[in-house]
Symmetry: C2
Subunit: 246 residues, 2 copies
Amino acid sequence: MASRPSLRSCENCPIRHNAVCAECDASELAVLERTKSYRTVPAGSPLATAGEPLEYLSSLVEGCATMSRTLEDGRRQTVGLLLPSDFIGRPGRKTSAYDIEAVSDVTLCRFERRTFERLVRETPHIATRMLTMTLDELDAARDWAVVLGRMTAREKVASFFVSLARRHATGSGQDQPARSVTLHLPLSREAMADHLGLTIETTSRQVTALRKDGLIEVPSAREVRIPDFERLALEAGEDDDGGLIA
Amino acid sequence: MASRPSLRSCENCPIRHNAVCAECDASELAVLERTKSYRTVPAGSPLATAGEPLEYLSSLVEGCATMSRTLEDGRRQTVGLLLPSDFIGRPGRKTSAYDIEAVSDVTLCRFERRTFERLVRETPHIATRMLTMTLDELDAARDWAVVLGRMTAREKVASFFVSLARRHATGSGQDQPARSVTLHLPLSREAMADHLGLTIETTSRQVTALRKDGLIEVPSAREVRIPDFERLALEAGEDDDGGLIA
DNA sequence: CGGTAGTTTGAGCCTCGTCAAGCTCCGTGG
DNA sequence: CCACGGAGCTTGACGAGGCTCAAACTACCG
């Protein structure tokens, strides 16, 4: 959680090979190092507000944030879970379409919006990486729509743990989660509920049910151990290839 | 529905200014004209199958298609409604992530996948347009997640008509639907239900309810007239700016 | 030890899904 | 001209899954 000693150098950056800069060569990195700036914000702070100007575009370096929209009557839906290497903001747009909130202490690698827009225009390696990342996010958003639209509460909760385990694995360079994994939950039950389109009570009940069925262990409210990943993935409505069951 | 007489020329193409080619200049269009080919497919035909190779990337020129995923037990969720100017397929990926099905007779402007990938690499105007369109689709997918996760059946159906009216308006060059609009529904009740994460029965009941409340008129099962767009938008959980109520 | 935020559990209700029947629209054929 | 049949849509009755309201439990912190 603490900042790395030499965060200023792109070479040692923890998200060097996954973020928007992933395809950049040494000379392009040099340009980025001149224009970037870091900012850390404590858990609970807003990083952006729906409809409000967003002056900086950034990569999330450390921590976790949620992207959500809240309706007048208080209903809230999280539309994206932001983890290290994820990009925040949209080049070419002055305002944020969503509320973005740090759910843990967060470190950002920021670029002034106009500067970054120029970088996208003039650096093909950034433009192509940006496109690839956006296409990946689009697939993820559509996959999540299947969860929101068609899955039961139990499947939703199982799907959430499965996707967290997957991102944890790819984040640490594996391409498949190990058979058994222990996850730290970045989200409270309430934030999980907002992500899953459920109430906090239903979410909690389903966590309990999965635990009683031996599909997960819950050492503390913010930790989940998955003893058999494949079995949980099946519970989430997937086949063993990791695709949704055809 | 019938093909335009001179569809071969990009200049008169109905989606010239909205599709992936929108930013191209005359010389770039000339390249596209050499490599593109048209294909028409009848309503009900598959354009792609989840997990199967997709040889051609294309722009939808005329008609309507759905992008969906079906679970083993038959539950289906539509994750995108494809209308003229929408892009089909993902450069850099050999297979389709979703089932894509023509729901009306469809005309496609196609490019062989490898050819198009080269075009994206070598034509900045295509790459930037591709990025803009993908970012727009991402926003649309996230907005739809709010509908799927947090809206009631009534709000879902109202939201669908509202978004159809908006796309109808922007497709015909306005930026706001007129106060009263008549829509042809491209989707059957079943396809609507799959898009909304509802059953066909609930969808039908909510259409009836909106009609009885005077929010819509239903001259035939495939037509909807919206007498007061603002009033329907409010029913869909939006404020008068077209954003979701803050 | 008391206070508070987060979580879990319980009881009852409501919305939406399920199952089933009936209706409308059309095309076909007697 | 009407009987027939099928697909798509609507309507009804009923039940279940998830939401609401409420209370109790836990962990953490002053």
